[in-house]
Amino acid sequence: MESVHASIPLSNFIVLSSILFSIGVYGVLARRNAVLMLMSVELMLNAVSINMVAFAVYTAPTFFVGIIFAVFVITIAAAEVGLALAIVLRVFRNRGTANVDEIDTLKW
């Protein structure tokens, strides 16, 4: 483990995680297709996992909380995506479109 510490500083991983997270946020906000929004959400979740694991390895290697957290995140992401795609499918059949911009009947 020491080699990891010496060669790649923690900040790299944090920056990586932040960049991935920001790209994910941008994707969520700017994509019109619902499936692409979900993909961006996945990207955000993975970014968070990277962050957790990096902290776990670098600061408390014998305390596996971060790694366990990442395992939970992956599991829940999988479940959530299944559910979300089912909803998107339903909406598509109902409204005829997967564009989130056009699903705005619950407005003023």
């Binding site: 969520v28 906000l29 989130v100 911009d101 699903i103 705005d104 009947t105 619950l106 407005k107 003023w108």
Partner: protein, 633 residues
């Protein structure tokens, strides 16, 4: 004397019973009211006997009895109760006697009226409040009774509640006396803050001893005198009394002649030791009294309604009583109050008898009634003569005593001169109304044919009052006083030994002057208004300005209406505008609408588009991150 509280309790019981049950009582319960009033009168005589025994040689300072009413230790300890002294006794006698006479009279005058039972109920309430007023030993109880008396007066003036003019008159009476009552209340409060007591005797002792700050005392005295002016219809609060003639005539006799209007005189007489300590107060009282008496006398010369003439004569008398009090002549003022109750009540009741018989009030339609009304006419003439001050009727002795009081008193003799001028004017207008009503050719034959004497229930009380008018003045003599059981004549009765004159001293030249001027004036009146009344028409044509001023009551009512319209109602409109435009429209409605508008604008944030909401979440998270964690660097 300690049980004097029973006196108001009797008519109060009558009021309650009549108010609740009168429709089901036989004759609507008038016998109950009259019975209680007669019982009260008998009790007054009993109290009088007690006072006689207590006076002894003439050092009687009144008997008080009180009960704890409120007790907040250190802050507010009020006792309510009764205080009986000579002045109280005079008032009690007058009130109960005239009330009994008036109630008997009303059984006939008000017979068959729709609100007969209610009439007797309210008159009983009135007498109860008046008795409480004169018995009160503290200013707070006096004020309660004062207001209650005003209320009953208003209710009774507006008795004919289907007449617009009666309602207006009742409103005017109440509001005008209210203006004075505010002054009275302020005066009472000022005195309380300075002396920490409401008890009248204690306040008077403190005032005489000089324990009260003189500026506050002056303010309190002026305010209390304003209250007396309102109730006793002194200038400038006199305007309600002539209009109060809208009420039934027995009401006018009781309330606006004999009892309520003298409540102000009673107040001034009671608080006189306090008023005399204040610089300039006696002069103020005298001036107001003079304006009232002279103004009323001049107005009475031209009025056409018989009740109005008697009303202005009441104003005349009230002004005279105030002038007497201004000179400190309490005995004279109380004597005048005593005899005035009799002759004024008899004048009113007799004019009521005339109205009852002829259904007419204007002297333009009356005339020659002497032959048709053999009891009413002499009663009225006796009353008028007493009012004018014809010797040996009671009015003469009382006026003479007032003149003597003015002569010996501290006020400048200009006041005496003005009163001497007012005497013949008084005689003149009383002669006028007597001649125009009872003598000469009847001016309306239909009315004359219809006229008849009134039933005994009406003529008996006025006859009794006429007898009292004739003999009432003789109490001023020591011999008469001793014969009645008192230790001295009137003055010795009213004043204690150390305080004032005991004997009735005659100022000869004043008495002779007044007799001569009154006699001459009566003869002049007979010449002016006798026969076809040519000289009166010439006089009216000679000076239309004075005639119009007198006929229109010096335009005081019009002036007040102008002030009400231009000042009171105008400022009311301004305040109403402020309330409507600023408080309501801008404030209450405005803030509501503004909030609604903001909500209207806010709804556009609900676009329904998920990316918008997502953006909102992201921005929120960033803001929280900066605010919560950004300070740590």
């Amino acid at each position: 004397m300690g049980d004097a509280w029973v006196l108001p309790a009797l008519p109060i019981a009558g009021f309650v019973v009549l108010l609740l049950f009168s429709p089901w009582l036989p004759r609507k319960g008038d016998w109950l009211a009259i019975g209680l009033m007669a019982l009260a009168f008998v009790l007054v005589l009993v109290i009088g006997r007690d006072v006689q025994n207590a006076i002894g040689d003439g050092n009687f300072h009144g008997v008080a009895r009180s009960w704890q009413w409120s007790n907040i230790p250190g802050a507010l300890e009020i006792r309510m109760g009764t205080f009986v002294d000579q002045i109280t006794l005079v008032m009690l006698f007058v009130v109960t006697l005239v009330a009994t006479m008036m109630m008997v009279y009303s059984t006939s005058y008000m017979h068959g009226d729709r609100r007969y039972g209610w009439f007797f109920a309210i008159v009983s309430l009135f007498v109860a409040s008046m008795l409480t007023l004169v018995l009160a030993d503290n200013l707070l109880l006096l004020y309660f009774a004062w207001e209650l008396v005003g209320l009953c007066s208003m209710l009774l003036i507006g008795y004919y509640n289907d007449k617009q003019s009666a309602a207006e008159a009742a409103k005017k009476a109440f509001i005008t006396t209210r203006v004075g009552d505010v002054g009275l209340l302020i005066g009472i409060i000022i005195l309380f803050t300075q002396t920490h007591t409401f008890n009248i005797q204690q306040i008077l002792h403190m005032a005489e001893a000089g324990d009260i700050n003189s500026k506050w005392l002056t303010g309190a005295a002026i305010c209390m005198f304003a209250g007396a002016c309102g109730k006793s219809a002194q200038f400038p609060l006199h305007v309600w009394l002539p209009d109060a003639m809208e009420g039934p005539t027995p009401v006018s006799a009781l309330i606006h002649a004999a009892t309520m209007v003298v409540a102000g005189v009673y107040l001034v007489a009671r608080m006189l030791p306090l008023f005399e300590v204040v610089n300039g107060m006696p002069e103020l009282i005298t001036v107001i009294g003079l304006i009232t008496t002279l103004g009323a006398a001049l107005i009475g010369l031209t009025q056409r309604d018989i009740k109005r003439v008697v009303a202005y004569s009441t104003l005349n008398s009230l002004g005279l009583m105030m002038v007497a009090l201004g000179s400190g002549a309490v005995g004279a003022a109380m004597l005048y109050l005593f005899v005035h109750a009799f002759f004024k009540a008899s004048l009113f009741l007799a004019s009521g008898s005339v109205i009852h018989a002829t259904e007419e009030q204007e002297v333009d339609k009356l005339g020659g009634l002497w032959s048709k009304m053999p009891i009413t006419a002499p009663v009225f003439v006796i009353g008028a003569a007493a009012m004018a001050g014809l010797i040996p009727l009671s009015g003469f002795w009382a006026k003479d005593e007032i003149l003597a009081g003015l002569y010996h008193g501290p006020i400048d003799h200009a006041a005496l001169v003005l009163v001497l001028i007012s005497l013949p004017i008084t005689a003149l207008y009383m002669t006028r109304v007597v001649l125009l009503t009872f003598f000469g050719e009847p001016k309306d034959h239909h009315v004359f044919e219809h006229a008849h004497e009134s039933p005994p229930a009406m003529t008996a009380p006025i006859a009794i009052l006429a007898v009292l008018t004739v003999v009432g003045g003789f109490v001023i003599f020591e011999g008469v006083g001793k014969a009645l059981g008192f230790h001295s004549g009137w003055l010795g009765f009213v004043y204690n030994a150390a305080e004032g004159p005991e004997q009735f001293k005659v100022v000869w030249w004043l008495s002779i002057f007044s007799v001569v001027s009154v006699g001459a004036s009566i003869l002049a009146g007979a010449w002016i208004w006798g026969g076809a009344a040519e000289p009166s028409k010439r006089a009216a044509a000679f000076s239309p300005f004075f005639y119009r001023m007198s006929l229109n009551r010096f335009y005081v009512d019009e002036l007040y209406q102008l002030i009400i319209d231009k000042v009171v109602l105008a400022s009311g409109r301004a305040v109403a505008w402020f309330d409507r435009a600023i408080v309501n429209d801008s404030g209450v409605n405005g803030t509501g609408e503004a909030t609604g508008y903001l909500g209207f604008l806010a709804k556009y944030s609900q676009t329904g588009k998920i990316p918008n909401y997502a953006l909102g979440i992201v921005v929120g998270v960033v803001v929280i991150a900066i605010v919560a964690f950004g300070y740590r660097t």
